[in-house]
Assembly symmetry: C2
Homo-oligomer: 142 residues x 2
Amino acid sequence: MKNTKDQISDILRSSHLSVTDTRVKILELFMKSSGALEHSDFEKKLAGQAFDRVTIYRTLQAFIDKGIIHKIPTTDTSVQYALCRSECSAEDHHDHHVHFKCEECGNTLCLDDTDIPAIQLPKGYAAHNIEVVVSGVCKHCK
Amino acid sequence: MKNTKDQISDILRSSHLSVTDTRVKILELFMKSSGALEHSDFEKKLAGQAFDRVTIYRTLQAFIDKGIIHKIPTTDTSVQYALCRSECSAEDHHDHHVHFKCEECGNTLCLDDTDIPAIQLPKGYAAHNIEVVVSGVCKHCK
DNA sequence: TATTTATTTGCAACAATGTTGCAAATAAAT
DNA sequence: ATTTATTTGCAACATTGTTGCAAATAAATA
């Protein structure tokens, strides 16, 4: 049974990313978090510690590129990020789960076991990807 | 058969909004457009004409508040807006349709007649609203 | 382990986007 | 036509995201 630091190093190395303090720290925060995180969460959580804003942007983008995290759509200007399940890779994502945004606690969760239903599009439309975001009240807030 | 200007005045008046140049112009652009629009589209389309950036922000917010337009979720920082169907009001929205983003032309469309399927959430979760955004290739680009 | 090479970081500077208060302008009500 | 309420434009500011480049760090090699 490996500790978290080793797990994180493994993830980074298998994605061909150097193991650096910022990347380890950001992955740790993702693993500790129950829900999705956005850029400003990292600025807050890492405040005081010497992590540059720009480095956080670049780290999140690198994680996206490597298929370590994925984005969740929102109706505001924030961008929500969540860890991909272990089966995801840069080439082949299968985040085919529903996202849930709780109106009470504000948290956004991946419902990993809730499948996205098939959708019958009008004639002439080809679907490559389907995003579903449900909002409501989560089980912790009800 | 009413002309567009009269239709627009009616929409504004029935939403208890004064009929002003900016509001009429922005509603016209929505009605002319085949797809969703974002803030920067208005800055571009209205460039040269004397419409303030702040006024555009406030106009879009007012239209949201009154149920004239709705937002469409995205994975970037843009905010997409589209006209609500006539049946929508400030109190009662029924945008229960699927949104489609074409990867070719970049346009985002409301598929007004494509219903959102029921989703079986895990025990303890209550759904209030469901957003579905499909990306792929639209019928004009295929 | 020491050195070289490749990658990553932090900084500065900038661009784009969004917000607020307030006086002037305009629309609606009287 | 005048009063009242609403909306607008401006200025100023806050937040968010981007780029180039030199210094720092990690990985690869000897």
